[in-house]
């Protein structure tokens, strides 16, 4: 087993990009993604990154360069946060529609306003429907591993879609923690050289990004949707073969004490670690509480999710973004529809927490569980639409 090395998670991410034999990095620095791209530009400057670091004037340009370089057949990487993603968002559905297997580390930060540099998931939820594969990781090791896993998924001939890896800003990106860094030998063969299906080249002219009239747009969308859904087995394959190699196994949903749980907390990203501690604490006190960690966000793992959650009486869903005027947090709404129509569905309660960097503690989880259990004694079927947990109501 490789040795655990202490490093900042952002640096581990940059290390993985270097080891993944990326040809082009195009990115614009923005807090809290900065340390990743700073390190990569250092690697490029002193020849450690066998590729090109393209400095650009904005995130819009960063994604434009990524599209161009991917189209020419280069393995490409980018990373951004919050407003940076907002600025590049015009191009995010394009990179996926062009079926370019870019990997992006999205260092999650709240969208302004009010202006906030801290962490939540409002940025990623704004591109939920962009047709990219999207997943969440919770610690430094998972960040490091998923750079390789991401390219393996993205570049499969039957996938060819961008993969967006979500990692929480600051609380994950800026933490110094142990990470096992793989040796080139250990990595050998996991990531075959990128074989693009089509490349832009003057000798073999072709057109990418042509427009579609009403006669074609629907078919194009249908084809894109089908390929995104059909990427599921390829995602599992990439995880399984990584698991065999490293002993670190990943699933679309990770379960902790879900089998016999009456109440299941559902969370995504690094919050799952605190949630796991809370669940262990409540288990010690004899409460039948479980944790369901949603790792794969797109394509949504409907089947696995329903199977894992079906036995519970209550689901407490953590959302870190608000869908204003809507039916609840984006994750909770998704889960309600995932469970629609099954027999005896669990009650689903939607809590919006940890907005704009607000600390979420073990005690917060305990409170949410207690509150939900008390309320569901009165109404076992329908859960609260949603609650923005911890917003100050009284002095």
């Amino acid at each position: 087993m490789a040795k655990r090395i202490g490093m900042e998670v952002s640096i581990a991410a940059a290390e993985a990009v270097k080891q993944a034999d990326v040809d082009v990095v195009a990115a614009y620095p923005i807090t809290p993604q900065t340390h990743i791209v700073e390190k990569l530009s250092e690697f490029a400057a002193d020849g450690q990154l066998d590729g090109e670091y393209v400095t650009v004037e904005s995130e819009h340009s960063a994604m434009s360069v990524c599209i161009g370089s991917q189209a020419s057949g280069a393995r490409t990487f980018t990373s951004t946060s919050s407003q940076g993603l907002a600025l590049m968002s015009e191009l995010v559905p394009i990179v996926s529609a062009l079926r370019l297997p870019l990997v992006m580390l999205l260092v999650n930060r709240s969208l302004s306003g009010p202006l906030s540099i801290w962490n939540d998931h409002s940025d990623v939820m704004s591109i939920r429907d962009s047709g990219c594969i999207q997943l969440f990781v919770k610690n430094g090791q998972e960040v490091y591993d998923h750079v390789f896993i991401g390219y393996r998924i993205a570049e499969k001939e039957n996938v060819l879609l961008p993969v967006i890896i979500n990692m929480d800003g600051f609380i994950l990106s800026h933490t110094f923690e142990p990470v096992e860094i793989m040796t080139p030998d250990e990595l050998k063969g996991y990531l075959p050289p990128y074989q693009p299906k089509y490349t832009l080249h003057p000798d073999h002219p072709l057109t990418m990004g042509a427009y579609a009239t009403p006669a074609l747009y629907t078919e194009a969308k249908k084809a894109h949707d089908e390929v995104l859904k059909a990427s599921y087995p390829s995602i599992l394959e990439a995880w399984n073969s990584w698991g065999k190699r490293t002993g670190r196994h990943y699933r679309p949903v990770e379960e902790l004490f879900c089998q016999d749980a009456d109440t299941i907390i559902v969370s995504m990203g690094s919050l799952s670690e605190t949630a796991a501690e809370a669940v262990k604490l409540m288990r010690d006190q004899g409460e039948k509480v479980g944790l369901l960690e949603l790792r794969l966000w797109r394509p949504f793992p409907f089947e696995e999710f329903s199977r894992a959650a079906a036995g519970a009486q209550r689901l407490i869903v953590m959302d870190r973004a608000v869908s204003s005027g809507g039916p609840g947090g984006p994750v909770a709404s998704e889960i309600r529809s995932a469970l629609y129509g099954i027999n005896n569905p669990p009650r689903v309660d939607s809590y919006i927490i940890g907005l704009g960097g607000r600390n979420v503690t073990i005690q917060d989880f305990v409170e949410m569980v207690e509150k939900t259990e008390a309320e569901s004694a009165l109404s076992p079927v329908t859960g609260s639409t949603y609650e923005i947990f911890g917003a100050r109501e009284h002095h």
Partner: protein, 304 residues
């Protein structure tokens, strides 16, 4: 699990201390996590950093509100920040002070290590960066990690001469640190530096402290518009690590210090001379630079 909180000022390396300690622990095969209190960084402003060490994987990412150990990198912080907030009963304290260390003892504290870190850092590193110095004192007090592991973490982090000097500073602090245990001083007979803390309620140990801004959501203006005069509520005095000192004899009452002070911290007294409002002076030194007669000079912020 051992939880350690570091207090420093931006630029003193509090975050580096936490990371070096975590690095040393990980080198020894333990598990550790270190991270800063996240926010905009301002040189001189109080910052904190956190480190958790355990024999099994550390999974918590919340800030440390009830530490086992508190390390204070700068003596001026004792008056600016509640450094011992939430410190567990029988906890430990590691401080940078040139004062008699016994006076920092208080009921409920098990032990403390004191070292004149500013002096050691000045003499060896030629800069008041006290992070590696306090780590030397910390491992003398508590064998959290081996000294050798810390030294190798320092050598890993810095290169060449800087690494050597930091190792020297660390070793000297290890030698010079004064260790005081609970029984060593008669607490009743001294003016306490710290008040005894209420231990956190069971199960509430990780409750965050009350935040400075505690508006209710119903109290915010539409669009969070800020009314004029908001800097009045924002006491910038705790950013200060140096203090402007006036010599009346030289002052010609020209008012330039008042005019240039970016925080309106120079206040004219009835006698025509100017004095500094310590709630707002952030120690930038502009007044000293602009004063035409040299009536103002900057001094290091006082300890306590």
């Amino acid at each position: 699990m051992l939880e350690i909180r570091f207090h420093g000022r931006g630029g003193q390396g509090a975050v580096t201390s936490a990371e070096l300690l975590a690095q040393a622990a990980i080198e020894e095969g333990k598990y550790a996590r270190a991270f800063p209190s996240f926010g905009p960084e301002r040189r001189g402003a109080p910052v904190s950093a956190f480190c958790r060490i355990d024999d099994k994987p550390v999974t918590l990412r919340t800030s440390i509100d009830s530490p086992d150990v508190v390390v204070v990198l700068d003596p001026s912080l004792f008056s600016a920040v509640d450094v011992t907030r939430g410190l567990r009963k029988d906890g430990s304290l590691v401080i940078n002070t040139k004062k008699e260390p016994g006076r920092f003892m208080f009921h409920g504290l098990k032990q403390l290590a004191a070292v004149n870190a500013t002096q050691i850092a000045q003499e060896i590193l030629n800069r008041p960066i006290t992070n590696t110095v306090l780590l030397g004192a910390l491992v003398r007090l508590l064998p959290v990690v081996k000294v050798e592991s810390l030294i190798s973490a320092v050598q890993n982090r810095f290169s060449g001469k800087i690494a050597d000097l930091n190792v020297q500073a660390l070793e000297r602090a290890y030698e010079e640190a004064q260790i005081i245990s609970a029984g060593d001083v008669d607490i009743e007979k001294q003016v306490p530096c710290f008040q005894e803390k209420e231990p956190p309620e069971k199960g509430k140990e990780d409750k965050p402290c009350k935040e400075d801004l505690d508006y209710l959501w119903t109290e915010l203006t539409p669009g969070c518009v800020v009314q004029p005069g908001s800097t009045r509520d924002n006491l910038t005095g705790d950013w200060r690590s140096t203090l402007p000192v006036m010599q009346k004899e030289r002052c010609i009452q020209c008012g330039l210090c008042w005019a240039f002070c970016p925080d309106a911290a120079q206040v004219q007294e009835p006698d025509g001379f100017f004095s500094v409002d310590l709630d707002y002076c952030k120690g930038c030194g502009i007044c000293a630079k602009e004063c035409p007669t040299g009536a103002i000079h900057m001094e290091k912020e006082l300890e306590l």
